[in-house]
Symmetry: C2
Subunit: 153 residues, 2 copies
DNA sequence: TATTGTTATACTCTATAACTATA
DNA sequence: TATAGTTATAGAGTATAACAATA
């Protein structure tokens, strides 16, 4: 009758994401960071150091969430907070030497994981490239027009 | 330096999924069910009615989670529990007439949402089809080989 | 008054442990 | 003893409200 669950787009996106994040977690395990933490390091690794709020906006999370994320990274010695001299309300967050090393190696593993993930599903490089380009459109075209069909039940 | 966040596969999968589930939620809003609840109805709509545990396995959730899901659906009058005569430990869960109507209309809207979502990103039907086939492989090829690279930091 | 970081709190989602009734 | 459903509880993950320091 109804299509099987495994052909539903929502299910597929969710489980593809789950599979990938598990692969990523495995790859980062011995580096002692999570994928989430690596993403924060990526955000923070810019020429002009960011405040916590800037980083939060960049990552698309709340500033209260960013407090906890920075806490974790600081506990591991990967970043350091310091008061901004320009505006003493702000914490400037910068990578430590250890943080930079971890970022470099984490990124290497991340790239490797992406390649392995796409190749592991038997995708040719051309297919993989097409897939990622399509995915990018679906991830960023935030607003599909609101059709809001009539209630016919 | 590092690739921008928006080209990371994990980020793209997560946000594509978020976008889609928001579209789905909007489409189902006036039907008064969530995407999750519709998925449960899909699972339950089979010739041989399922027990709660069977349905949980089918959906890939815990049996305690299924209790709450069935509670919600029963409160809305979409399903009914009855004790299995064969094994009185089991609850057989069946769609009510209202549940069947809701499922039919929900599925119609869901299909419409999928089409709109893929078309909305400017995908041709051929691209959309290819995308879904690739996604299916990525969602189901659960285990990528564990490379577990050396710690080079 | 508004903003940044922080804390306390709450809410969602989900799983584990323990209870009950059945087998 | 084991299984199905249930409840209580706890753990992520994240957000809202309130507070202190600063602007």
């Amino acid at each position: 009758m109804a299509e099987p669950l495994t052909s539903r787009l929502g299910y597929l996106l969710k489980h593809a994401q789950l599979n990938f994040s598990q692969s990523g977690a495995r790859a980062l395990e011995s580096l002692n960071i999570t994928g989430r933490q690596l993403a924060v390091l990526v955000v923070l690794d810019v020429a002009e150091p960011l405040s916590q709020l800037d980083a939060a906006k960049e990552l698309g999370v709340d500033r209260t969430t960013m407090v906890a994320l920075i806490d974790e990274l600081e506990d591991k010695g990967l970043v350091e907070r310091r008061r901004s001299p320009d505006d003493r309300r702000k914490n400037i967050v910068e990578l430590t030497a250890h943080g930079k090393q971890t970022l470099t190696e984490g990124e290497r593993r991340h790239q490797e994981t992406e390649k392995a993930f796409l190749a592991g599903a038997g995708l040719t490089p051309i297919e993989a490239d097409l897939f990622v380009r399509i995915l990018k459109r679906l991830a960023t075209d935030a607003e599909t027009p609101d059709d809001q069909p009539e209630d016919k039940t």
